[in-house]
Symmetry: C2
Subunit: 297 residues, 2 copies
């Protein structure tokens, strides 16, 4: 594995079909599974690791965002990453950035309401990574469901020749969606945190029993999480992110809640079977707790 710090060096390592997995580091199996998927899909597997200040609406969240570049490099090498792109701030923002990529229409709801400016930062940095690294394909997690829709849209809107692949949510054995921020959850927060994935699974159960109406599906989710104070629970279509009344197209149920010191999000996608029936994507459950909880450093 080659570790590079500039776009130019990264491009020079490209051989054949290039797959990019963009990350902010502090790897867990969510990242590692994306990388393994990427490994299958191309010839050169690039992983970018950059904690992007532009997408943090909360400076405190940025300041404490967990980092462990050495462990990250070790884990990336283990899964067969070819190029680990770790740009310093001067490479990403050599001068104060005047340019923003703004995706309207998809960013005014859900996360957009609770994290003002977040998606401008995401769209801008993703555009930079795609323009500067020129992958043929890029893999994003389905946990950040709204982000995935934003990225898919900007790629079409900006004529960027890249295929965007969404990967199922990777979950702890108890169902909690993996997130680097989970390291901040104490043992006493865990029971409440678990209600988030349980809420989504309850909705999936109901859909598998035949329910198609949005209202009871959302109510089932809320009902399964009596101690959680949701910021939102929404059933929206996968591409346009408009709220739907019936589960008659590709959609996802997304939810967010603050638990102790952490803001958690999770999503459950409903894809359509060839017969047009919604098929819940419950994600991938780990058999043992994530590497996230291995001793750091």
């Amino acid at each position: 594995m080659k570790v590079v710090t500039t776009f130019r060096e990264a491009r020079e390592e490209a051989r054949g079909r290039v797959v990019l997995v963009p990350t902010m580091g502090y790897f867990h199996e969510g990242h590692l599974r994306l990388m393994e998927k990427g490994r299958e899909l191309g010839d050169t597997l690039m992983v970018s690791l950059f904690v992007n200040p532009l997408q943090f609406d909360d400076p405190a969240d940025l300041a404490r965002y967990p980092r462990d570049p050495d462990r990250d490099a070790g884990l990336a090498a283990e899964v067969g990453v070819d190029v680990l792109f770790v740009p310093p701030l001067e490479e990403m923002y050599p001068t104060e950035p005047f340019t923003r990529v703004v995706v309207s229409g998809l960013t005014e709801t859900m996360e957009g309401v609770h994290r003002p400016g977040h998606f401008d930062g995401v769209a801008t940095v993703v555009t930079k990574l795609l323009a500067g690294l020129r992958p043929h394909l890029a893999v994003f997690g389905r946990k950040d469901a709204q982000q995935l829709a934003v990225v898919k849209r900007l790629v079409v809107d900006l004529s960027i020749p890249v295929e965007i692949v969404g990967h199922p949510v990777v979950r702890e054995p108890d169902g909690l969606a993996l997130s680097s921020r989970n390291v901040f959850l104490g043992p006493d927060h865990r029971p409440t945190a678990l209600e988030l994935s349980r809420a989504l699974m309850a909705a999936a159960d109901l859909v598998e029993h035949g329910e198609r109406r949005a209202a009871p599906i959302v109510a089932a989710a809320r009902g399964a999480a009596p101690h959680l104070q949701f910021e939102y629970v929404e059933l929206v279509d996968q591409d346009g992110l408009t709220r739907i009344e019936r589960l008659d197209r590709p959609a996802f149920l997304a939810a967010a809640a603050r638990v102790g010191p952490v803001r958690l999000i999770d999503a459950l996608f409903f894809d359509l079977s060839p017969e047009g029936e919604p098929v819940p994507d419950r994600g991938v459950f780990l058999e043992a707790p994530s590497v996230l909880y291995r001793e750091a450093g």
Copy 2:
């Protein structure tokens, strides 16, 4: 010369170093000189021809924007263009575009004041062309001086690996900067229109006589155009577009005025000599009137 209508086809024609000249068609020597310059600078010369609705703040201006694709194709072939990319609207905007590239800091003055939204449209379509065609180099005219600064900035900010080259303003024998919109100037508008370039040349004369202070330079320009109602005359630094007091760095003098049915803009760049002295770039004067006035079609 190959005429293609999709980004994919255009990319497939790329051999070696690719140079792009983005245009809105209705070619005159301003375009042709840019193409000739591009011809020298690379192996594959691509010209894009797309009248971009996103950058027109005035629907009437868009509706009457002159078009003659057959003549354009003939002229492009004559100067040695390899690939003429003429995308239909469906290729550029297959769905309603939600994404805008916004360059703040450089777009709130001069043209930005008089054409709200214009630069968002320019920045967005230029990003698309650079992302979708992947040139190594792109040539833009210095007449659109503020646009050139915006493009240079977005390329850095978005990490797009392309070199941006500015080309001197190409002028009619009488000094008028070439513009496709000049076809709308009647003979009775011409004397007033000519005052625009005369204003800039008067400023250049003064600088060559040793003047370095902005106020007299701008006053000289205004004084040389007694019949012109300027929208603005500004002396700004080339990259940051901030108004300067003294001509002690690379700068340009930009001006705009409405003459009859047409809004005209022009610019005169001051580059620095090795000794740090400002050198006016008066542009390239044609020896005979532009092909613009050949019988169309």
